[in-house]
Symmetry: C2
C-alpha cells in the first residue's frame, strides 16, 4: 500500500475507473472529471482509467466485422481500441478544465504489455516508472482501458470487461490503496434488481464470493478482473457515477461475509442443458471429445443408474455459443447402443446461489424443497463449496429467483 502520512495529511493512491455509460457523452465525461477533481482536492494521488463512450466499441466492432469474420485479428484490435483513445484525451481535457494537470496514456505510452492473444489478451506487465513522476507532481495520468501492446508493438485488446481489468492491473502494479470502478449501477446486488424487486445492494463481499457471482451471471464485474483483484489483494469498490451512494466493497478480508449465509443469487440465460445416458466409459469418451473441441463443460453431475450395472446418467451445461457444435458431435454418437442423448435444451436458466450457507447438503435439500413445493421442476442441481447451481426451464426463472431470494436472503 502506498498510503503515506505526508505533512500530517493522509495521502492515498487511488485508481478511478469510469465505464462506458459513465463517459457516455460529453456531460457524463465532465461529471466524471468532477468526481476525480473532488478526490484530487483532498491531495490524493490519482490515476484514471476510461472505457470508450457507450455504444462506440459496438460500432467499431460492427465496422471491423464487415471486413473480417473473426474478432481475433491484430487489425480488428487496432480498430476497436480507438474508442478508449478518444475518451482518454477528452477526460484529460476535462480534468484540465478543472485546473488539474492531466495527461492521457495509451497502452503504448503506459507500456501495458500483453500476450499475443488478440481480442482477448492478458496483461503481462505495466511499466509504472513513468507514472511515479506524474504522482510526484500531482499530475493525473488518464489511461485508455481495454488496450495493450505485444512485445513487437502491435495493439491488443483485453476482451470483455477489459477496462476493469486495466484498472485492477494498474491498482496492483501501482500498489494503489484502492480501486474505484464507476459504473451505472449502485454496486453489487444480492440478485438482479430487474428481476428481484427485493434485491439488496451488498455493502461488502469477499473476493471468493464475488468471483462465483461474476462467473455465474453477475454482469457488474467480469470474472477475470475479479480474479486479478483477488490475486493481488486489491481493495476494490464498485459504485455509481450517477447516484452518490457508497457502492460495494470487494476484498479478501471481511468480517462481514461470514455473517451473511448467502451473498447473492445469480442467473445465466446463456447456457444449454445436456443430459446423456450411457455406459460409464462411453460417457467419459464423449465428455473428453467435447473438451477437445474447446467446448467448456460446467456443473457436471454423473450418477450411476444402478449399483449393479455400468450405466450412468450425466447432466451438465455448455455455453450457448457452442450449442450447434456440441449438437453435431452428440448426434453422431446417438445411434450407438451404448449411448443416449436425452436432452440438449437451450431453453433453460442456470440459477446459482453463492454463500457459505449453501455449503452443506441440508441447505441444498431446503432449496430443492422450496422449488418442488412451488411446482418448479429442477432438471439437475450441482453443488460445490460455496455455490449451488440449479438448472430449470427458463420461463420459471423470475418465479424461482424471487422465491429463493425471499427464502434465503430476505427471510
Amino acid at each position: 500500500m502506498a498510503a503515506l502520512l505526508k505533512y500530517d495529511i493522509f495521502v492515498a493512491r487511488y485508481i478511478v475507473k469510469f465505464g462506458g455509460t459513465s463517459v457516455g457523452n460529453l456531460d457524463r465525461i465532465q461529471h466524471a472529471a468532477c468526481i476525480v477533481a473532488e478526490l484530487a482536492k483532498e491531495g490524493h494521488e490519482i490515476a484514471v482509467v476510461v472505457s470508450a463512450m457507450a455504444g462506440m466499441t459496438n460500432q467499431l466492432f460492427s465496422y471491423a466485422n464487415t471486413f473480417c469474420d473473426v474478432s481475433f485479428s491484430p487489425e480488428h484490435d487496432v480498430v476497436v481500441s480507438s474508442g478508449e483513445q478518444i475518451t482518454a484525451g477528452l477526460m484529460a481535457l476535462a480534468l484540465q478544465k478543472y485546473g488539474l494537470d492531466a495527461q492521457s496514456f495509451l497502452a503504448w505510452q503506459a507500456t501495458i504489455l500483453t500476450d499475443n492473444n488478440y481480442g482477448n489478451a492478458t496483461i503481462e506487465s505495466i511499466k509504472t516508472s513513468s507514472f511515479d513522476t506524474h504522482f510526484a507532481k500531482k499530475s493525473i495520468p488518464v489511461i485508455a482501458g481495454f488496450q495493450g501492446i505485444t512485445a513487437d508493438n502491435r495493439i491488443t485488446t483485453l476482451g470483455r470487461g477489459g477496462s476493469d481489468t486495466t484498472a485492477v492491473a494498474l491498482a496492483a502494479s501501482l500498489k494503489a490503496d484502492c480501486c474505484y470502478i464507476y459504473t451505472d449501477v449502485e454496486g453489487v446486488y444480492t440478485a438482479d434488481p430487474r428481476i428481484v424487486q427485493n434485491a439488496r445492494k451488498i455493502d461488502s463481499i469477499h473476493y471468493s464470493h464475488m468471483l462465483e457471482l461474476a462467473k455465474h451471471g453477475a454482469k457488474v464485474l467480469h470474472a477475470r478482473c475479479v480474479e486479478l483483484g483477488m490475486q493481488h489483494d486489491v481493495d476494490l469498490y464498485v459504485l455509481s457515477s450517477f447516484v452518490k451512494t457508497a457502492g460495494t466493497r470487494i476484498l479478501n478480508n471481511t468480517d462481514n461475509h461470514n455473517k451473511c449465509a448467502i451473498s447473492g443469487i445469480t442467473h445465466s440465460l446463456n447456457e444449454v442443458h445436456i443430459h446423456i445416458n450411457g455406459e460409464s466409459a462411453y460417457i467419459s469418451l464423449v465428455l473428453n471429445e467435447l473438451s477437445q473441441n474447446n467446448i467448456a463443460i460446467d456443473a457436471l453431475v454423473r450418477e450411476r443408474l444402478s449399483d449393479a450395472c455400468v450405466l450412468e446418467s450425466a447432466h451438465f451445461t455448455i455455453g450457448k455459443a457452442d450449442f450447434e457444435h456440441a449438437k453435431t458431435l452428440l448426434i453422431a454418437h446417438k445411434a450407438t447402443n451404448s449411448f443416449d442423448l436425452l436432452a440438449i435444451d437451450p431453453n433453460i436458466v442456470k440459477i446459482s446461489i453463492i454463500g457459505v450457507g449453501i455449503k452443506d447438503q441440508a441447505a441444498e435439500m431446503f432449496v430443492l424443497k422450496i422449488l418442488a413445493e412451488n411446482h418448479i421442476f429442477v432438471h439437475f442441481s450441482y453443488r460445490l463449496d460455496i455455490k449451488l447451481s440449479l438448472v430449470i426451464t427458463n420461463d420459471q426463472m423470475t418465479k424461482a429467483i424471487n422465491l429463493l431470494h425471499d427464502a434465503l436472503i430476505i427471510r
Copy 2:
C-alpha cells in the same frame, strides 16, 4: 527512385493515399482497397496512407473543443488523431479480404517524428527501415495519416491537409516512384468547376505553379504538402477514387507547363482588403506592428502619392481570422494626423492568375482592361513572378473569374 527491373518485370514503389470521402464509409473503403489490390496484382511495392472517414475528424474536433478553447493542445491531438487509426485498421482488414498481406502503422509504430507544434506539427523524420521488410515480402503497410509523435512520445497532428503531407513525406522518405493522392475530384482544374463551367482538368502542372494555386485558394492540395513534394522531387498525382480517369500529375520537370501561358485561376474568399494612406515611415511602423502581432500580410502594394512628398498609399490583404484583431490595431492609429484608414473590407475576393504568361506587365494591362470593359472595379492588383492577384468586390466574383478564364485559358 526505387524502380527496379526485377526478373524482367518493372517493379515500382507507390504511395497511395485516400482522403476522407474516398474512405467515407465501408463501401468506399472496400473500393479503395480494390484500387490498391489492382496495383498490387502487378507486383508493385505499395504503401497506403489513409485519412479519417469523412466527417469523423470534424466530430472529434467538436468533442475536444467542448473542453478546450484552443485546438493546439497535446490532448486535443490525442482525440482528433483517433479517426485515422480506425481507417488504418479497417483498410488493412479490407486488403486482407482481397487476399493481400497488410498491416496498419500508427505514427508511433512508423516512428513519424514531428516537432512539438501540436495541432500543426511538421514531420522531422520517418523511420523507414520497418517498411523495407514489408516491401520485401510484398506486405502492404497502411499508415494512419495526419498524425505524428514528438521525441517524448506524445501524439501530434499535422494540421489541414495533414494526411496528404504524410503521404508526400513517406514518398520522399521511401524514395517512391510516385505518390497517388486519391480524392473526390478528378484532379486539379484551371478554375473552380463550381464557378467556371468551362474549367478544364489540368493533365500536368509544374510544382511552382501548383504551389501558387494551393497558396491562393485551390483546395485540392494544401500548400505545405506541395512544397514538400517540390523540395523532394516527388512525382505526385491527384486523382479521383470515384471516377476512373487520369488525374493531374505534379512534377518539377514538365515540358508541358511552358506551353500553357496560364495554368489556372484561383480565388480566395477568406481575405480582408486593407487600404491605408499616410507618411511613409508611419506606414512602415503600422505594417511592422501587424507583423509583430502575427497577422500575415499578403499582396502588399505601396505607392508614393506624389514624387514631392513622403505620403504613401498602401493596399494589402490579411486573413479573415485576423480581421477583428487588425481592425482594433488600425483604428488606434486612425486618429493621428499622419495616417488614414481608408478601407478595411472583408466583402472582397482575391482572384489569382497563375502562369508564365502573366510574367510581364502587358499581360497585367490586358487583364485589367478586360475587367474595366466589363465594369468590374479592381481595388488593387499585385503581380509577382508567375502570379497576378486582383482584389475585387465579392459579388462580382463569378462574372470576373469566368471572363478571365475565357480570355486567358479557353480563348
